[in-house]
């Protein structure tokens, strides 16, 4: 022990502490100030290392837990979203376009037939009216066998009705443009869905490549990992000659491994 320090303390406490108590006080101060013996310092650092190891263990456990959680819960859902739900959504939307187009074509077939039949009927009616007028002109007044005015009036009314039908058919034809307009909007939605699918695929691939790369090369730095994965992603998305790069099956396999 430092004799000079002991004598200083004795003077300070003016006999209120025994020599033993002063010694204990000094040991305590040494421990606290890390200026104690070599053994004490070693014990302190050992304790510190133990604490740090424990912290690191807990941190590693947390990371493992997070990874397990992601793989078992979140990831399968995202993969399924990419491989099943989004393609299905795009297919469904394309199906809507196809079925409305088929229905629109069938309706337009019917409208065209109605248009033709109505035009024929108008033509026939005009011929009939002409013949009646001609007969009336040849035979003189109605009493001597001429055209019945009420009959020509009825023919005129019928003609007007058929003209009205034609106009309604033309109007219905024009309104079929709804199929084109809704189709265009659905096509834009399909584009958006496909874009989402592409982005999710890229995210999953990036995640999968990072995991694989880190497993194969545990010592790789964060920057190297990012640039390696970026290059692989670029290779995957770039143009490939037959036999080069990954095909769809390889990509699906990689996604399934995640």
């Amino acid at each position: 022990m430092n004799k000079g320090l002991i004598s200083e303390i004795e003077n300070l406490v003016e006999g209120k502490l025994s020599a033993q108590e002063i010694e204990r006080l000094l040991r305590f101060m040494n421990r606290k100030s890390l200026k104690g013996s070599e053994e004490e310092r070693e014990a302190f650092f050992k304790h510190l290392a133990r604490e740090m190891r424990q912290e690191m263990k807990e941190l590693a456990a947390l990371i493992v837990e997070f990874k397990r959680d992601f793989m078992s819960k979140i990831h399968p859902e995202i993969t399924e979203l990419r491989t099943t739900y989004i393609p299905q959504a795009a297919d469904q939307l394309e199906g809507i376009i196809e079925s409305t187009e088929q229905a629109a074509n069938q309706i337009m077939d019917n409208l065209e037939l109605m248009q033709r039949l109505t035009e024929d009927a108008i033509g026939d009616l005009a011929g009939l009216k002409g013949k009646l007028i001609e007969r009336s002109a040849r035979s003189g007044p109605q009493e001597s066998g001429g055209a019945d005015p009420s009959l020509t009036a009825r023919i005129e009314t019928l003609h007007q009705s058929l003209e009205r039908c034609l106009s309604l058919i033309a109007d219905s034809f024009e309104r079929m443009s709804f199929q084109d307009l809704t189709g265009q909007r659905i096509k834009r939605t399909i584009d958006l869905v496909n874009l989402m699918e592409e982005r999710i695929k890229k995210t999953l691939l990036s995640f999968g490549l990072k995991l694989t790369e880190k497993t194969n090369n545990p010592g790789i730095s964060g920057d190297d990992l990012a640039s390696t994965v970026e290059k692989k992603l670029s290779d995957l998305s770039g143009p490939q000659r037959p036999g080069e790069g990954l095909n769809q099956a390889d990509i699906d396999k990689l996604l399934a491994r995640l």
Binding site: E101, E112, F173, D180, L181
Partner: protein, 125 residues
Amino acid sequence: MDTNMRVLIVDDFATMRRILKNILKQIGFKNISEADNGKTALKELKNERFDLVLCDWNMPEMPGIELLNQVRSDEQLKGIPFVMVTAEAKKENILEAVKAGVSSYIVKPFTAETVSEKLKKIFAA
């Protein structure tokens, strides 16, 4: 308006081509051809003589505005009346088409009267 003139309808939607064709027939046109995108239309225009083009804006392969630009920059084709028939009703679209040399602009959905009026105006000029 000479209804014997040859008309080319360009639209990727078969329904819309059929509607336009029906309307043109009602007006009296007899010689009507169809193309489902700008690229095919350009080939048709270079192979055959047409007197009028009715064209959609949004199409795969080549959109209507690009077809218009190509037509207007071609010595043989640049005089053909070109009508844009589209759902794109934004001011910038219309300005772009006018700048490219469109003869008229019909917004979907349209009526037979609108088509007839626009065509009469083009051919009266």
